[in-house]
């Protein structure tokens, strides 16, 4: 079965619930490097997405566009803006289509990665959510079914989290903590892996 607007509506509800559950953990992870509001931001963002997603719309582009608009007005945090960028990228890529194949996900994530790098200025290796999206995009490149995709994506996300834990953050506010970020999970990566696990479940 392909990905349709119903898949997205279902995923949006799960993402909203997962963001609410992850709020305290993400605030705590961010509190070690930032001002401790990543969890609150993520919860507000996905509450807005779940509310804004149209109930009777089959065009995936229009559904993603509504999500992008909700994100753009909902928050000014950099994480929120990156999610907006991701939604806009998806909206452009899926305009006019009522379904996409699981084998297309890797390519879509790769475009999101590129757009996020262009907007946010992150490079691969900076220890940001972009590194995790890059890893998941590569893993999804060889998946044709939902089952394959969920297993591969979650494994790639976990591997990225584990691999980057021992490295320092090189961008934004976390950069200023330098060597002290070694051993810590990047809050953006942690957020992405939590959402992924919820949507895949």
């Amino acid at each position: 079965m392909a990905i349709t607007a119903d898949t997205l509506r279902h995923a949006a509800t799960r993402a909203r619930d997962a963001a609410a559950l992850a709020q305290d953990d993400l605030n705590a992870a961010d509190g070690r490097l930032g001002d401790g509001d990543t969890g609150v931001m993520l919860r507000r963002l996905f509450e807005a997405v779940a509310t804004a997603i149209p109930a009777h719309e089959n065009d995936l582009g229009i559904v993603f566009q509504a999500c992008a608009r909700a994100c753009a007005s909902g928050t000014g945090s950099s994480l929120g803006t990156l999610v907006t960028v991701a939604m806009m990228t998806l909206a452009k890529a899926t305009r006019g289509r009522s379904e996409i194949g699981w084998d297309e996900l890797g390519g879509l994530l790769a475009s999101i990665r590129d757009q996020m790098m262009a907007r946010g200025g992150a490079k691969l290796g900076d220890k940001t959510v972009v590194d995790m999206i890059d890893a998941v995009a590569s893993a999804l490149a060889h998946c044709a079914t939902r089952d394959e995709a969920t297993v591969a994506a979650q494994k790639a996300a976990q591997d990225a989290l584990d691999a980057f834990r021992a490295r320092p953050n090189k961008l934004g506010r976390a950069r200023m903590f330098g060597e002290r970020t070694i051993g810590l999970d990047d809050p953006g990566m942690l957020a992405f892996s939590r959402l992924l696990a919820a949507v895949a479940a």
Partner: protein, 328 residues
């Protein structure tokens, strides 16, 4: 930490309601505050924005000779793309808009996106980023430095230039030169807390200070036991003067700014030393500012900014301006 507020979620909106109620020269439209006179036809617009929690920055500097409009976010979180678009439109008098704000990732992304969107409506925009915090990156990575209190000099100088009828290119160049000529360093004594957060943004011992800490509690250069005002001022001025600046000048303006809880008494004790140090260094201080200009709510500590003045910057600094917190 104790806060006199109602619901944490209402903190920013209720603050903005009160700000515009007290100052009829300001008009609030959702998360944008614009000057009652804006947009002024034929004048280049100056628009800024950022997170709440820094009053008088950002919204307090809206007024003639300073900002035309300002987009404001939640406490320590940037304004949304929508607010940035709305602020740019509110500031556009038909000759383009300078986006003048601090160098923070989220703010940059949102103002960039907003700029692209208003371009479709035929509004020309340029960007100048405040990058005055010398503790936030080394001189060879100066483009990564964050914007702190020194940005108000750029507001004043760019605002006066725009008032004088300069075009967007000229206003942008003047604002960039003002940023390039200005350096700031802060010192923190105690933290602040975001409304609704479980604990303060950082922890620091009762007898400790942190040199170089940023206005959101970004880590600084060192943390050690509290020292005398003169010792702290000496180190801050030494670091500010040692930082490379192309356009150094004998005439400077100085801002000794409270981060929130530090009282005027302590600011003047520090200013007295700063003035003596600069005199000894052969410099003349023009139009010094001492007070609460860019804060972090109840954080204790202060920042010192020095801007080097050429003849034009000195003239623009002396031009008339009026906002709730700064009048020339």
């Amino acid at each position: 930490m104790k806060k006199l507020m109602n619901a944490a979620d209402a903190f920013v909106d209720e603050m903005l309601d009160g700000l515009v109620a007290a100052h009829p020269t300001l008009v609030r439209e959702a998360r944008v505050v614009r000057a009652a006179h804006a947009p002024k036809p034929g004048k280049v617009g100056i628009v800024s924005g950022g997170g709440s929690g820094h009053l008088p920055l950002f919204t307090g500097y809206v007024g003639p000779g300073l900002l035309d409009a300002c987009a404001i976010g939640d406490v320590f979180a940037g304004p949304s793309v929508d607010s940035c678009i709305q602020a740019i439109k509110a500031g556009d008098g038909g000759r383009g808009v300078l986006r003048l704000y601090g160098n923070y990732g989220g703010d940059r992304m949102n103002f960039d996106l907003a700029g692209e969107m208003v371009e479709m409506n035929g509004i020309r925009t340029t960007t100048v980023l405040g990058t005055d915090d010398i503790a936030s990156a080394t001189p060879d990575e100066a483009a990564k430095r964050r914007g702190v209190a020194g940005i108000i000099y750029a507001y004043k100088i760019a605002g006066a230039k725009a008032d004088a009828g300069a075009d967007l290119t000229e206003v942008t160049a003047t604002a960039q030169a003002a940023v390039d000529a200005c350096r700031t360093i802060g010192v923190a004594l105690s933290p602040c807390q975001i409304p609704g957060a479980a604990k303060p943004t950082f922890e620091i011992g009762a007898d400790e200070i942190e040199m170089g800490m940023g206005i959101h509690g970004e880590p600084g250069i060192w943390r050690d036991k509290l020292r005398s005002a003169d010792d702290v001022a000496d180190e801050m001025v030494r670091r500010l003067l040692a930082d490379p600046i192309t356009d150094k000048s004998e005439r400077v303006s100085v801002l000794v700014n409270s981060l929130g809880a530090t009282p005027l008494e302590e600011l003047f004790i520090v200013y007295r030393r700063v003035a003596a140090l600069l005199r000894k260094d052969g410099r003349t201080i023009v139009r010094p500012l001492v007070g609460h200009y860019v804060t972090s709510m109840e954080m204790a500590g202060l920042s010192i900014s020095i801007i080097h003045l050429d003849a034009e910057r000195e003239r623009l600094l002396a031009a008339p301006c009026a906002c709730p917190f700064w009048r020339v």
